[in-house]
């Protein structure tokens, strides 16, 4: 868990950072490289889940008509996703999806946010396993919802056959199939994963780069400082990306569900 801190303290930063920097040694068993059951990454996932459960259960243990401050905060998060994503995208029928969308949004937001929290400083979502799992849920969900709503035949017809002249359909149907049923889960998962991966990589490059220049030549110290200032600036950028990606993932899921529910293409 403190591998990176040790590296920094020892002044022997490996530069440039590599993909291996994303795969920290296991916590239990300590230091193992091929054990993934209990690593910093999975620990953070559990922490995120625990924090969210405790927060929501604690704030909503005794809901009141006139909300307390904490209750108001929890309601604002739910209200934001419910009104600004679910109802906005899907319409009134979207209310029944709001609980899942809110859970999804909170989970992604918090796990993303670990990327810039001191001592955590890496997001579980920079491992594609987690975005992929969430994307698969979204994928299964919109197909399931579509089939439930329209029946299998009509859903497939709605999804694959756009309102276009018949002679262009042979071209459009494969494209629709490709974009709707093949690309969607990958684009969802990869978008989130790549953003978090790149964000972490950027912060690593500028942080480790500062140390690398400092150890290479003492005269490069000002540049090192500049590099660390850039790290701070990029941390703010990363915060923007964190919020944006959580929002985008939820909105796209809502949009897929809306497409599956829509009567016409």
């Amino acid at each position: 868990m403190f591998g990176q801190a040790n590296v920094l303290a020892a002044g022997q930063a490996a530069f440039p950072p590599s993909v291996e920097d994303f795969y920290l040694p296991s916590i239990l068993p300590w230091g193992a490289h091929d054990s993934y059951w209990f690593t910093k990454i999975t620990a953070m996932v559990w922490i995120a889940v625990g924090v969210l459960i405790i927060f929501f259960l604690a704030t909503y243990r005794k809901p009141q008509l006139v909300p307390t401050k904490k209750q108001w905060l929890a309601e604002s998060i739910y209200g934001f996703v419910r009104n600004n994503i679910a109802v906005e995208m899907i319409g009134h029928a979207g209310v029944r999806f709001a609980p899942y969308f809110t859970t999804l949004f909170c989970f992604i937001l918090l796990t993303n946010f670990f990327a810039i929290v001191p001592l955590f400083q890496i997001s579980p979502n920079s491992h594609i396993a987690f975005p992929a799992f969430l994307a698969v849920i979204s994928y299964v969900m919109f197909i399931w919802v579509g089939i439930r709503h329209h029946g299998f035949g009509k859903f497939v017809k709605n999804s694959l056959i756009p309102p276009a002249p018949w002679y262009i359909l042979p071209l459009l149907i494969p494209i629709e199939f490709f974009s709707t049923f093949l690309v969607r889960p990958f684009s969802l998962a990869v978008r989130l994963f790549a953003n978090m991966f790149a964000g972490h990589m950027l912060l690593l490059v500028f942080t480790l780069g500062g140390f690398a220049m400092l150890s290479a030549n003492a005269w490069l110290a000002p540049v090192s400082v500049l590099s660390w200032v850039m790290t701070i600036a990029l941390t703010f950028l990363e915060f923007l990306v964190i919020c944006l990606q959580a929002y985008v993932f939820t909105v796209l899921t809502a949009s897929y569900v809306q497409g599956a529910l829509a009567d016409e293409h």
Binding site: E20, G31, F56, Y78, P99, T103, S126, H127
Partner: protein
């Protein structure tokens, strides 16, 4: 150990290939989160929202009902007030009419009384006058007879004659007085 592996350039990890253990762990964790939040938290939030909407709408409804009732009461009071005013006016008119009637009665009675008193006075006067006249007549007769007897120096013996003389004299007096 970790550093050695990294520096050795031994790229054992492909970032685009998910680690199945992480999928399992993440899946369990996320499903747990979903179950707890979607079962115990967000439905209650919806309930609270609904309760809040009900409270607000119920309040509006109650206020509307109260307003309607107040309006109805106001109308009722206005009607009653108008009725009371009409009644009061009627009572006043009646009272005025009664007062007028009583005044007229009293006036009539007073007039009648005064007439009666005047009539009684007149009657009494007439009676007194008649008495006086009668007494005077007797007295004048006596005086005249006395005077005449003194003048003549003799008493008239014959009562009937004397009475006839006096009556004749008096009739003459009256006839001259009437003329």
């Amino acid at each position: 150990m970790y550093l050695l592996a990294a520096e050795g350039g031994e790229s054992t990890h492909n970032p685009i290939i998910p680690i199945w253990q992480e999928i399992v762990v993440g899946g369990i964790a996320f499903v747990l989160l979903c179950i707890v939040l979607m079962k115990f938290v967000f439905p209650r939030m919806e309930q609270t929202f609904q309760a809040r909407v009900d409270a607000i709408e119920g309040g509006i409804k109650r206020a509307e009902a109260a307003q309607a009732e107040a309006n109805q009461l106001l109308e009722q009071y206005r009607a009653q007030l108008a009725e009371a005013r009409t009644d009061a006016a009627k009572i006043r008119d009646d009272a005025r009419a009664d007062a007028e009637g009583i005044r007229q009665d009293i006036l009539a009675k007073a007039r009648e009384e005064s007439d009666r008193i005047i009539a009684a006075g007149k009657e009494q006067l007439a009676a007194e006058r008649a008495t006086i006249v009668r007494e005077l007549r007797t007295e004048v007769g006596t005086i005249a007879v006395d005077l005449a007897s003194k003048i003549v120096g003799e008493s008239l013996a014959d009562e009937a004659r004397r009475k006839g003389t006096v009556d004749r004299f008096l009739s003459d007096l009256e006839s001259t007085g009437a003329r």
